[in-house]
């Protein structure tokens, strides 16, 4: 807007000055002066200002500087030619200048974009490097912690064989530490997107069998009642077997820990639309409404949590693992008391056995 004020103002001043000395001037002087003003306007104000000044120049030349003065008539063919020449020259230069300005602006944009891309690439490279370093650190921490833990366990077991009562506690605590280390590493890998999940067609029964085998040590004389329809073809889902096994053993393990020892735990699997639905139900105290979402947050332990049971990472890891496989984990209140944890995972079109 400043450019308009400036150049239109200059145009008016030039017109007044030229008009005052009109009698001593040739038309060509006015034409050249207007061209200069128009060029300046084009450079600083672009096409609109350039064309406006061009139009004003044509009118002003005809009105003030071509005889008969102070009318808009074109008396001689030469006058018409002068006006046409002025208009053409002005229009072409305005157009050229505008195109050049656009190219310059574009080049500037491109340069900025390039700088941005280079910066982004450098940033990505730095992130990749940081990520790689993190993996290396995690792997080596994992290895370095496991090695002494293995030794501690081996020595504790040797002590226990010789009747040292403390040795059993040492071994239990070493196990607890090993689990905590593993959970922390996995949580950090999950949050960094570095824990690979490979969903493949697997059967629900295979998973349930493996989960029951893993929790057998926690069960004692308790039982897990399974509900699977063996008359139907095997339920096949698309999930990562090892990671899903972790989810399921975590849910069953919680059920064992939080429900009275004489009450059974139910584990059922059925097809639910496009999903397989695993449900782990217990007769424990259930979860208070305020805690039902928070139990899936890392490190959150409700007031009712069993002392010394863990760091509150199990469900957070479980939910993240389920989500990575396009699945969900939800809590539901169990009619008649207790909790139901429902794991949903994508079902697979059951392949025809060969």
């Amino acid at each position: 807007m400043r450019a308009w004020l400036w150049w239109v103002g200059l145009f008016v001043v030039v017109t007044v000055v030229l008009r005052a000395s009109r009698d001593g001037l040739d038309v060509a002087h006015a034409v050249l002066t207007y061209l200069l003003v128009m060029l300046g306007g084009s450079v600083s104000g672009g096409r609109p200002l350039g064309f406006t000044l061009t139009g004003a120049g044509v009118l002003s030349l005809d009105f003030f500087f071509q005889t008969p003065y102070d009318t808009l008539t074109v008396a001689k063919p030469l006058d018409g030619f002068v006006l046409l020449a002025f208009m053409t020259t002005a229009a072409v230069t305005t157009e050229l200048l505008a195109a050049e300005r656009a190219r310059a602006a574009e080049a500037e944009l491109l340069a900025a974009e390039r700088t941005r891309l280079i910066a982004a690439a450098e940033h990505a490279e730095a992130l990749r490097e940081a990520d790689r370093l993190k993996d290396v650190v995690l792997a080596s921490v994992s290895h370095d912690l496991r090695t002494p833990l293995t030794t501690i366990k081996a020595l504790a077991q040797a002590g226990a064989r010789q009747g040292d009562q403390n040795a059993i506690a040492i071994e239990e605590q070493a196990d607890r530490l090993a689990r905590l280390v593993a959970d922390l590493l996995d949580l950090s890998r999950l949050q960094g997107g570095a824990l690979p999940v490979h969903p493949e067609p697997n059967t629900a029964e295979d998973l349930v069998g493996a989960a029951l085998r893993q929790v057998a040590g926690l069960l004692g004389d308790r039982t897990v009642e399974t509900k699977i329809d063996f008359t139907e073809p095997a339920l096949v889902g698309r999930f990562d077997f090892v990671q899903t096994l972790r989810i399921l053993t975590n849910l069953v393990g919680n059920a064992i820990q939080y429900s009275p020892s004489q009450s059974p735990i139910e584990l059922s699997v059925e097809r639910d639309g496009d999903n397989l639905m695993f449900a782990v139900a217990d007769r424990g105290p259930g979860i208070a409404p305020a805690d039902r979402e928070r139990i899936f947050e890392p490190f959150y332990r409700p007031a009712s949590a069993v002392a010394g049971s863990g760091a509150g990472l199990g469900l957070a890891i479980a939910r993240r693992l389920a989500e990575l496989q396009r699945g969900t984990i939800e809590y539901a209140e169990r009619p008649g008391g207790g909790s139901i944890f429902v794991l949903r995972l994508p079902a697979d079109g059951a392949p025809e056995p060969l």
């Binding site: 792997a139 077991q157 040797a158 392949p351 060969l354």
Partner: protein, 234 residues
């Protein structure tokens, strides 16, 4: 346990405290327990001392454990039990495919480790005896390998040819974890183009026919992320 003592075992492990702990634990299993702190020394000792079993750590300073396993396998059928600190399933699969007989993940419990070593030794002796049993009886099942028959309580269980091949492969290698790939190659042949995931469905169907409770399998057990194993009692 009625297992006779082994003559010599070899532990290839760079961490001294673990090596000592393992040596103590294996004292009841063998007359002599040899030790090597590097892969190179382990390979040399395997060649010169001809141990009955090798315990191999995967995180050795000089050579990758998998490479040690492959190297030994090129000239010796000695049973190999692998110790792995990384809980990477891909690595277990790799080392089993490379010819290891079993693996234990650190931190492991000593009794479990000793039990695995004994089981692998027992199996190796049976295999060396050549006249391995052709009739296997377990969990109320009678599996007649020669006549390709499975019975429970005198009544015949009908298996499809593929189910039979899977069962036979696992039972012949009872106690040993076979990777999905190894079972697949044994049943379908290495040239078959059939996707491996069918294996899981066939295993599930097989269990429904032969296990007392298909969702709590006793004979055909899953090694998560690795493969399957036939577990015979005793």
């Amino acid at each position: 346990m009625a297992t006779p003592r082994a003559r010599a075992l070899l532990i290839i492990e760079d961490d001294l405290p673990i090596r000592r702990a393992l040596k103590n634990a294996l004292g009841d299993v063998a007359d002599r327990v040899l030790e090597a702190a590097t892969g190179r020394a382990g390979i040399d000792l395997t060649a010169t001392e001809r141990p009955d079993l090798v315990v191999l750590d995967l995180g050795l300073p000089d050579i990758q454990g998998v490479a040690v396993c492959r190297e030994i396998r090129t000239w010796s059928p000695v049973p190999i039990v692998v110790l792995s600190a990384r809980h990477s399933d891909a690595e277990k699969v790799q080392v089993l495919n490379a010819g290891a007989d079993d693996y234990v993940t650190k931190p492991f419990s000593t009794p479990e480790f000793v039990a695995r070593v004994r089981a692998v030794l027992r199996r190796a002796r049976l295999a060396a005896g050549e006249n391995a049993a052709t009739i296997v009886e377990a969990y109320g099942l009678t599996i007649d390998l020669a006549r390709r028959r499975v019975e429970r309580g005198g009544s015949l269980i009908r298996l499809t040819p593929i189910e039979w091949d899977i069962l036979r492969t696992l039972v012949v290698h009872a106690g040993r974890t076979l990777t999905h790939q190894q079972i697949f190659d044994a049943v379908w042949g290495a040239a078959a183009g059939s996707p491996q995931q069918y294996l899981r469905v066939h295993i599930t169907n097989l269990r429904r026919k032969i296990e007392a409770h298909a969702d709590r399998p006793e004979l055909v057990v899953t090694e998560p992320g690795v493969g399957y194993r036939a577990e015979l009692p005793g």
